[in-house]
Point group: C2
Chain length 320, copies 2
């Protein structure tokens, strides 16, 4: 019992395959009774059109490839949720790629997506040195990372976010403020958070210091800064770790130590409603990313590369 195809429907309905195709796509004029017959036959056979064959012919798959580190992280999980939602509303499907932060996997995915003829790619896996992006002529939108000259970047205002967070801590009366960030990479807009922190501290004549993630950064942070007053973590997961470590050391938050994070994913807001953070406009990022991707897909010729920066918001919780 194989899958019925268009020809089977045609035979049962006693018409030609062309006619069935016409009914299916509502193209050209068709007699009312033939249409009925065709629908009946489709129903009876439980027929579904084969999108693969269709894709091959029209040279378009209506699939968007989405590459991010992991759906396991609440921020990416939510971003991907919205990306998928927006795509779906436009008739596009999403092929999911978890790079797991590995450059080789990202490269492999990228090639796989090309072979699979996806109509476009949204990439937010932050690996370095993947020149495949540069060579590719495929519609691509990048989240938070410069991939190549011709690839538009969507991000939220990381510099402003860093400024808001730092200034907020200063306004709260803190002077000894430490920043935690991932390892510095070139071309990553997320590092603007660090620049903003350092600039803002300078502007206020305060000493600044950034810890980069390592096996021991947490202990180091606390051991080396007994006079610590506040921490600006570059994401909420890190902020949470700082808070928990403080708790374990008997340091009270916010009385003895103020902590602010970054991202504001829904799940984190729910689990840690007290956490102060910089809220990224996650749904908006998704909306705009897909929008720009669609522009490329629909007019791949004279398409003008424009980067978009979305506003962030300071959430004053109870940890500051």
């Amino acid at each position: 019992m194989k899958k019925p195809k268009l020809a089977d429907v045609a035979k049962l309905a006693e018409v030609s395959p062309t006619t069935v195709s016409r009914v299916l796509n509502d193209r050209g004029y068709i007699g009312e009774k033939t249409r009925k017959k065709v629908y009946a036959a489709m129903e009876e056979l439980n027929y579904y059109p084969n999108e693969i064959a269709r894709s091959l012919f029209i040279n378009k798959t209506f699939i968007v490839g989405v590459i991010f580190p992991t759906t396991s992280n609440p921020f990416y999980g939510q971003l991907i949720y919205h990306l998928e939602n927006v795509c779906e509303s436009l008739g596009y499907k999403v092929l999911l790629c978890n790079s797991g932060g590995r450059e080789d996997k990202e490269r492999a995915y990228l090639e796989m997506l090309q072979r699979h003829q996806v109509d476009g790619i949204i990439a937010g896996a932050h690996n370095r040195g993947i020149d495949l992006y540069k060579k590719s002529r495929m519609p691509i939108v990048s989240f938070d990372r410069i991939l190549a000259d011709h690839i538009p970047v969507v991000s939220s205002d990381n510099y402003r976010g860093g400024e808001l967070a730092t200034q907020h801590l200063i306004d709260r009366g803190c002077k000894k403020i430490i920043h935690i960030n991932g390892p510095r990479e070139l071309e990553t807009p997320a590092n603007l958070r660090r620049d903003a922190y350092e600039d803002t501290m300078k502007k206020n004549n305060l000493p600044y210091r950034t810890y980069e993630i390592s096996d021991t950064y947490l202990e180091d942070l606390f051991n080396e800064n007994l006079d610590l007053e506040a921490v600006f973590a570059s994401d909420d997961m890190i902020a949470s770790k700082v808070i928990n470590e403080a708790k374990n050391r008997g340091i009270r938050v916010p009385e003895d130590l103020k902590v602010i994070g970054y991202d504001g994913a829904e799940a984190v807001r729910m689990l840690l409603p007290d956490l102060s953070t910089i809220q990224q406009p996650i749904e908006e990022i998704a909306r705009v990313s897909v929008e720009i991707l669609m522009e490329q897909i629909n007019q791949s010729d004279n398409f003008e590369v424009k980067n978009v920066t979305l506003p962030v918001e300071l959430i004053k919780g109870k940890t500051t």
Copy 2:
């Protein structure tokens, strides 16, 4: 400048398309120098085989459809992460579907996946009354929900989990223990958590009461149970809400109120390391689900439906 196809490579390499195909798939005998020529041509043209055309011919896409409520939820996000990982390791890609808990969307996705000729489906979106599953002859594995007689179900041991959680609270000396759960639905193994709670309470001659999620369940819970000693929440997000509400009311956890959740997603464990919970074997669930799906895909004839129940683990945190 269109995409190069196999014939273009053949022309450049001065061989026939068949030969190129052979090189590509490493089939049959090929001369060493021809192979070299072909590879060179592929390189020069930046050629990628068209998987769509290939799929159409071999009648197989190596795509698995994955339907869940939302990647935004840490538990599903992590489960999907692992599902994608396992699939990738077997050469399969994942088409992501967020049902958002809506039955109409799930139905639409299901149809879309059929049209797209996916080789199989893993479904964990818990809607009711989708008979499409019953009619479908496609390889399907369900997570935590009975969809049809012929569809295997993978779940962790929900009854045992409910037992562990309840007994743990009793062991901690609690008598007035309330359970919170989603609305009761038929055929959902997750409701076994509730059954286990009620059975365990009965067995210990303790009064039991289950609150179902509603707009006011949290307030009701606290207002109607001034002598409340413990809460067993059917997932960690709910547990977190209970803890926060308690905090707002000046009720200390765990001194005045003990709370245990369910799921134990990585992100939640990181954000709320103190939370007692029942840990589901998320990675294992993913591994087994894909495994069973592959069995169906590879021998769709005499395939024996077997459900699998995986063990859970009690995590004793500081909230109990």
